[in-house]
Symmetry: C2
Subunit: 157 residues, 2 copies
């Protein structure tokens, strides 16, 4: 029991995932371990580049493409998912955090919304088109409260 027991549930789970990786014929490499530690650390919705920087603070030689490949692999194993929040790079987070995304076109702020919030649209789309929406992979865009207030104030001359 070293310093490894951070308050959440971090390092223990890293090893679990690495075990899973090896079951699947993969290997427990250092870059993979560090990446996982960063993913288990608090603060979700990190881009590949942000993750790369975090990893590189510990292992400077880890290349961005390695990050991408590992994220892809972890996604295949169901450990990680990515979401597109509008323009800009995709963001990655643990697959355990299941939620839809609302993202502000003006400021880029992202809200994690319970899937239930989308039920109204889900039913309407299903009824009208047989279309099953998935608000997890691609965010629903719009304008957050703060930006709406600011924009409303600005144009109320």
């Amino acid at each position: 029991m070293s310093v490894e027991s951070r308050q959440s549930s971090a390092p223990a789970r890293v090893d679990e995932v690495l075990a899973r990786v090896r079951e699947a014929g993969g290997r427990a490499t250092t870059s993979r371990r560090i990446l996982l530690e960063r993913l288990f650390a608090e603060g979700s919705h990190k881009t590949a580049e942000e993750l790369a920087h975090e990893v590189q603070r510990i292992a400077p030689d880890v290349h961005l493409s390695t990050i991408y490949r590992n994220l892809e692999e972890l996604e295949r194993l169901g450990v990680v998912t990515h979401a597109h929040l509008g323009h800009g790079p995709a963001t990655y987070h643990l697959a355990t955090e299941t939620h839809g995304h609302l993202s502000c076109e003006s400021c880029g702020a992202t809200l994690e919304a319970p899937l239930g919030l989308f039920d109204g649209l889900a039913e309407a789309a299903r009824a009208a088109f047989g279309f099953e929406i998935d608000p997890r992979h691609f965010a629903v865009l719009g304008h957050c409260a703060a930006c709406r207030a600011r924009e409303a104030g600005a144009e109320a001359d």
Copy 2:
């Protein structure tokens, strides 16, 4: 009153838009005119590259960057809007066609949905977060009826 009176509002409007362009200090160039004709032609949700090809069938020298610049300009004038339908390039259409977008992650099919369809989510997001969704600029992704049927059939072993 020539053949120009298509059932909707096509070529006549091209000149109207060009007039508007000139009011705004712009010029009525050939590439701009041809691009507008293509935009007024039926079949919406064209990518910049598709539009470029269509324009180039008439004026082969028009460069893709010219298409982008003109689309940007027309968007600034409120004539055109673009929508992001998931992965892949943005699609452009006349700003008069106001609708939300549902786009299938599996096959890429896009449904144009009346904005009313999104009311349920709009109200929920507003109530919960003060967030105002806009389903026009970014599509809501998911899975269309056909793909769902296919996928359900495939995994029912």
